[in-house]
Structures are given as structure tokens and as C-alpha cells.
């Protein structure tokens, strides 16, 4: 094998690895969105902004208290859970009862909430880009493969690898929770048919609030995991909200396993597209896939979502 071919294989391998690692984080963001979508039947357009809040929590925990971002997960997730619970209880629930001609009142509310959160962060923390300077930020692990007489060396970014591992663990926990616990079963029942669940004695209001809390905690975890490898600034939420709904549509609305697949597909698409097509359009690739899915597979990649 010529060195050129080996170089090409190395590049492709590297792109796939970073795509999958990024996709793990995207999956975590998408899981929260999909869970909320399933139970509440709304797209949460403040999802990215919730992640931004968690990122600032992690940032301040590191800067003021010197807490490692991975340790602060233990604090950020419960805090985001309570935050989500409060938003659902005090902002979204009252709107469910309000009379309006517009059909998507609650979604509009999340739009307003997103504006408030990002501009509050702008006011409090200024527009400066910040980062969490952990000691292992640029640590990499190499993996050498012998192939046809050439050595292909693939690198794994340590913080990305850890983030991927934690994301997988959290995803697995979520599946166990949804499958094995009573609350998890109640969440699935509410997502399937709210009225029937209520008739079976499920307190759907409580379940809806808990679901929103879990969704916020999941995206909060993604924010904390993203902190060591990304910049943070008040407007970071918008692009991630867009990614979150792209993932949700890719997976099929409200389809939980689909959200994992959607996250991986989006991570790979961005990674492949920015290397082989153009870096400037990195954020557009997800949307292009999104439109293609809308045309050809409107029920999502797994074909089980609600069209």
C-alpha cells in the first residue's frame, strides 16, 4: 500500500472517530429533547439554552471552587433537574390551560424562555468567550494499527473519550430507568397515551414535570461534558437547539433509541462534511440531512416515529 493511500485511510479513520465521539454527546442532547417531545408533544426550543446554563454552572464551579467538570456533573445534573421541574411547573403548565388562537403556545413559550436565558447570561457574564482550562484538555491517546506495511496512527482526544463514556453510561441508565422502574413505566405510558395513562391512575402532571426535569438534566450533563472541549459564550444555545431538533426528527419524533442514532448520524455528518466538503458549512450539513429525511423518511430513520 502506498503512503498516500495509508494517509487517506488515516484521515478517514480520524474523521469517523471524532464524528462518533461528538455523536455521543449529540445523542445525550437528543435524548433529553426526544423524551420531552414524547411526553409533552412539544419541541423544546430552549433546549440549547438549558445546556448553556449548565455549561456556565460547570464553568463557575471550576473557576471559583476548582471542581473538575466531570465531578461537577453530580451537582449540575440535580440542579438542572430542579430547574427543568420549575420551568415546567411554573411556566409551561399555566400555558396548557390558557386559551389562544395559536396552536403552538407552549413552543412559543420555550422560544421566549431561550431568549431570556441567553440574554440574561449576556448581561451577567458578558459576550466573552470562555473555556474551562482543565489540565487534560489537549491530552490524546494514540492507537497504532499496522496495515499493509504502513502504520496508521489514530488519535483519541482524552476529554472527548471520557465524555463519550459518560454519555453512554448515562444513556444506559436512562434506558434502565425507563424500562425497569415504576416512574419510567409511567413516563412511557404517558408518552403513549396521556388520557389512558391518567385513567390508569398515573399522575400525568407530575410525570410531565419529572420528564422535563430529566430532559434538562440530560442536556445539562451534555453541557458539563462539553465544557472541557469547547468554548462557551451566552449565545451558544441557539445552534445546539437546532442540532437537538434535527436529531429528534432524524430519530423520529419521541423515539428514544432513534435519538441515539440521530445523534451519531449528525456527529458523523458534521465531521465528514467539514473535512471533505467545507468547514464553513459545518452547521448546514445536519439541516441538509434533516430536509432529506423530511422528504424521504418523514417518520425518522427507524421509521417508528409519529409522522
Amino acid at each position: 500500500m502506498s503512503p498516500q493511500v495509508a494517509g487517506q485511510i488515516e484521515l478517514l479513520g480520524q474523521v469517523l472517530i471524532s464524528g462518533i465521539l461528538l455523536g455521543g454527546l449529540y445523542a445525550l442532547i437528543g435524548l433529553g429533547m426526544s423524551l420531552i417531545m414524547g411526553v409533552m408533544k412539544i419541541i423544546n426550543l430552549a433546549h440549547g439554552e438549558l445546556m448553556m446554563v449548565a455549561m456556565y454552572m460547570t464553568y463557575w464551579a471550576f473557576t471559583l471552587l476548582h471542581v473538575d467538570p466531570y465531578v461537577s456533573l453530580l451537582m449540575v445534573c440535580p440542579a438542572m433537574f430542579l430547574f427543568g421541574l420549575a420551568i415546567q411547573r411554573y411556566l409551561i403548565t399555566p400555558v396548557m390551560d390558557a386559551e389562544s388562537v395559536l396552536p403552538q403556545n407552549q413552543v412559543l413559550l420555550t422560544v421566549g424562555l431561550g431568549l431570556v436565558l441567553s440574554n440574561l447570561a449576556l448581561l451577567l457574564f458578558t459576550a466573552n468567550y470562555r473555556s474551562v482550562p482543565v489540565s487534560y484538555a489537549s491530552k490524546t491517546i494514540y492507537w497504532d494499527i499496522k496495515l499493509g506495511g504502513q502504520t496508521i496512527s489514530l488519535s483519541f482526544s482524552y476529554p472527548f473519550l471520557v465524555a463519550f463514556g459518560i454519555a453512554v453510561a448515562l444513556g444506559a441508565l436512562l434506558f434502565l430507568f425507563l424500562g425497569m422502574t415504576d416512574t419510567g413505566r409511567m413516563i412511557r405510558a404517558t408518552a403513549q397515551d396521556k388520557r389512558a395513562a391518567a385513567l390508569m391512575g398515573v399522575n400525568t402532571r407530575r410525570i410531565t414535570a419529572i420528564t422535563f426535569g430529566i430532559g434538562a438534566a440530560l442536556v445539562g450533563a451534555a453541557g458539563a461534558l462539553l465544557d472541557p472541549v469547547y468554548y462557551l459564550y451566552p449565545q451558544i444555545g441557539g445552534p445546539f437547539t437546532n442540532k437537538a431538533f434535527v436529531i429528534t426528527i432524524l430519530g423520529g419524533l419521541g423515539n428514544i433509541p432513534g435519538a441515539v442514532l440521530g445523534g451519531l448520524v449528525l456527529g458523523l455528518a458534521e465531521s465528514l462534511g467539514s473535512v471533505y466538503i467545507s468547514l464553513g458549512y459545518k452547521d448546514a450539513f445536519g439541516f441538509i440531512i434533516f430536509v432529506l429525511v423530511l422528504i424521504f423518511l418523514p417518520r425518522g430513520l427507524l421509521g417508528k416515529g409519529r409522522a
Binding site: 389562544s100 388562537v101 421566549g112 448581561l123
Partner: protein, 321 residues
Amino acid sequence: MGKRARAAVLLAAVVLFPIAVRNPYVLHLLILSMLWIVLGQSWNLLGGYTGQISYGHAAFFGVGAYTSAIMVKSGMSPAAAWSGLALGGVAAALVGLVIGWICFRLRGPYFSLSVLALAEVLRLTAVNWKSVTNGAEGILYIPAFTSKAAYYWIILALVAVNFLVIRAVMASKPGSYFLAIREDQDCAESLGIDTTRYKLLSLLLSAFFTGSAGAFYMNYMGFIDPGIVFSIADISIMMILVTMLGGAATRWGPAVGAVVYILVSELFRVWVGSGHILFFGILIIVIIIFFPQGIVGTLGAWRERRRRRASAGQQATKEAA
């Protein structure tokens, strides 16, 4: 004076206003207000009357603005830039046709989200396609007129055309179909309404006028860049705010909302300096929770209640007598 005479006097006053008042600042605020009246009314046609919520109308605004700007950049005369009012609208309507054709066959949030995605893709395209759009630098253009009065009359004409077209449409059959689609799509379909076609019609009209307003913005401001005209917070969401503030699905709501919006953002600019988007975000939440019918809708409901109480009172006295 009769109702017609009063309307005629009011109309004459509005048309002749720039001759009497030459203060450029006052005219500027009025021009911006009228620009936002067009934007609010256009969003209201699709979102308020037809019930198809768009979170990305900046896509159409930006396409209109860039159509006009690219014509200027390619060395056409200022008169050609003004033809952007029509061409920008047509370009925006074509974009709307594509996205509507894809999304309106589906139900659920697909359309709302697709437009949001579309606005982002167009913004990225405008940033990256440097040879045509100048990229993030934007396009600068020396405005054709030095007096504000000219712009005042042009945007006034656009407001009038927009208002009359929407009123005519809503008074005709398609208008009733729009309302039927908003209220119950299944029911509308079972009555034989081609819902996809009428949603598309509503979108085309809405996109056309939004694009036309974008072209006006370009000609008036003399500068655009992708971050301004494709902005989610400053254009897409504010169009929703203007409509909801005044009252969605009401005839005068968007106009009231636009004037209040421009006044409030101007007060913020002068006295507070920043934070106006934070304020509008809070305002959106307050409106949705407490006044979902907006200013015009709430006033209307309030007046209706008072009238009913008065007539009930009359009836009671009559019965007593």
C-alpha cells in the same frame, strides 16, 4: 362626519404627514414602524389566520434583502435596486414554495422547524458564498434618496397594498379555508379543501411580502450582512412577538404590535442602552401566559363583555318594567 369621510381625512393626514413634519428622527421611527407592520401582517396571515407557525421568517426577509443587494452590487442602477421590492418578494416566494412543498404534506412541527433550519442554512450560505454575497462583511450601498419622505411614501404604499391584499384574501373563499385549516385540519379536508394547496397559498403571500419588506430594508438602511437579515432573535422571533403583542389573527393587531414594538425598543436604546432582547423575551412569556389574545384581542374581548353586560342590564330593567 361619516365613517368614510373620517377615514378619508385620516388617510390624507397619513399621506401628507412628511410634508408637515420634516423631523428626520420622527420619520425614521414611522418608517421602521411601517416596515414592522408589513412584517407583522405577513406573519399573521400564515401564523395567525392559517395556524402555520413559522420560527424562521427571517429566511424570506433575508432572501428579499439579498436579492435587492446583489442587484446593486452587480452594478445596476438604483432604480433596479428598487425593483427588488418586487423581485425580492418573488425570490422569497420561490423559496417558500420549495419549503412548503416539502413540509406541508406532513403534520406536526415539521414546517415550523424546517423554516427555522432554512433561515440558518441561508445565513451560512450568505456568510460562505463570498463571491456573490461579500460574506460576513455584508453589502454596502449608498441610499438613493437623501430625504426620508420618499422612503416614508414607499413603505406606506407597501403597507397599504399588504393590508388590502390580506383583507381581500380573508374576505374571500381562500381566507375562510385558511381559518378552517387552522381550526381543524381533518374537518377542513373532509369538506374537500385541498389543505396542502391553501397552506401553500398562505405561505406564498406571506413570504412575498416579507421578502419585499426585506428589499425595502436593504434600500433604506443601505447596509446588510448575514447576521442582521437572517437573525433569529432580531427578525424571526420579533415578527412573532409583534403579531402576538398586537393580537394574532386580528386585522389591526400586527399594526398595533409593530408601533408598540418600535417605541419600546427605541426607549430601550435611548435610556437603557442594551438588554432590549431580554425585555422582549420576558414580554413574550408574559403575553403567552396572561394575554394570549394580545392588545387588540384583549381590548375586543373586554369591550364585548361590557356591551353584553350593558345589554343584559337593559333587558333586566325592561323586564322589571
